[in-house]
Amino acid sequence: MKILQNSGVPIYQQIAEQLRGEILAGKRKQGEYLPSIRGLAKELRISVITTMKAYEQLEAEGLVTAVQGKGYYVNAQDGQMLKEQHLRRVEENLLAAIAAGRIAGMSDEELTETFGTLLKMED
């Protein structure tokens, strides 16, 4: 795991992002416990509360479950749930794009057209 101290991205987000990537890619299996918050803090040379915040974020996303006194384990990542996870991110990003478009005064047609153009560019 790589942590950048001065990247402008909060450290807890960097940790959450890397663990999220590993979980969604199946590198961390269902039922597997994440490193203990204090153990990870020690290894990464950061404070306990920072790792804890990262784990709490993953818990809020439904990726892991906290067990009192035992730590955080990886939830079942069935195909359906993974798809929903990704779908949620797609929706979030599209909503942000729509909001930006409204500020720029774009019409529905213009937005759709831009979306279509970008889809074609990807091919």
Partner: protein
């Protein structure tokens, strides 16, 4: 969240100084930093918590069940469970490093001589095979005396460390090592161990600080988990022409010829709408300085 120490209505009056802490809780399983100007009352509070000062009013609760009266009863095990280091040195000057270990073994049931020996070597106080253990406390530098006290408390099986300015006499490398040792202590405790330390070296200790307590004039003026404080306050930089307006909104601000810089409460950030400003997440040092500046009697120009 459980607490390792709870403070209720603690008061201590001196001729020209009054410490008054109506309510304070130190979270269990974390490292808490006590931050404040010289004379803010950090050491007085630490001495009251560590039990090196007993003439105060108020109530304390340790480990969720023991009062400060219990702390003074050996059978409670409270004193045995607390490791304390202070700004002075409580080892007698004519003791040598080896004798410090022998005395500690007599004083504390939970003192582990083999761990003490290992820590001495780890901290470079003695060489391979123990040369240097005959060195007297009075012959040690301030930094080495602090290392010796740290070896003394870490050689015991404790649940709480109370360290008064542990970083001050240490060089940068050793400060880094101190942070590492605090993290290791917490990790080995699996949530059952806690650390409380006071410090002026906020930046050096930031990466080991979970909870911060900021004091001014004998009172606690801000406290919270560092990650929460970083969301409560926002660092703002802006242009000179907006400075006058911004001053009414920012919590703390400094101005120069070209612009202004300050800390804004996140909830008041909307008030800066329309101004040409940049925002950033502040670090603990920036938050602490802003809070201290707003509460100090020092004058800035």
């Amino acid at each position: 969240m459980e607490n390792v120490i709870q403070v209720k209505n603690v008061e201590k009056n001196y001729k020209n100084f009054r410490l008054a802490v109506p309510k304070l809780a130190i979270p269990k399983g974390f490292a808490t930093a006590l931050i404040g100007e010289n004379g803010a009352g950090k050491t007085t509070l630490i001495n009251i918590l560590a039990g090196t000062r007993l003439d105060y009013k108020g109530e304390l609760c340790f480990f969720g069940r023991y009062s400060d009266a219990d702390r003074e009863k050996p059978e409670s095990g409270v004193r045995e469970a607390i490791g304390y280091t202070g700004p002075g040195c409580y080892y007698l000057p004519h003791w040598n490093i080896k004798q410090v270990g022998e005395v500690s073994e007599l004083l504390f049931e939970n003192f582990r001589p083999e761990r003490y020996g290992r820590l001495l070597a780890e901290l470079g106080l003695v060489g391979e095979g123990n040369p240097g253990s005959g060195k007297k406390v009075s012959e040690l530098s301030d930094g080495n005396r602090m290392k010796l006290m740290l070896a003394g408390v870490l050689a015991r099986d404790t649940k709480l460390l109370i360290l008064d300015e542990p970083a001050s006499p240490l060089d940068p490398l050793m400060r880094d090592k101190l942070c590492e040792m605090i993290r290791e202590y917490l990790a080995d405790g699996g949530g059952e161990r806690s650390v409380l330390f006071s410090t002026h070296n906020i930046s050096d200790m930031e990466n080991v600080t979970d909870y911060a307590v900021i004091m001014e004039h004998g009172a606690v003026v801000e406290q919270g988990f560092v990650e929460d404080l970083k969301e409560k306050y926002v660092l703002v930089k802006g242009e000179r022409e907006d400075a006058e307006m911004a001053r009414k909104i920012l919590y703390s601000m400094t101005e120069n010829r070209y612009g202004f810089e300050g800390i804004c409460l996140a909830e008041k950030l909307d008030g800066l709408a329309g101004m040409d400003v940049c925002t950033e997440t502040p670090n603990l040092f920036q938050i602490s300085v802003a809070v201290m500046r707003e509460n100090t009697s020092l004058q800035f120009h």
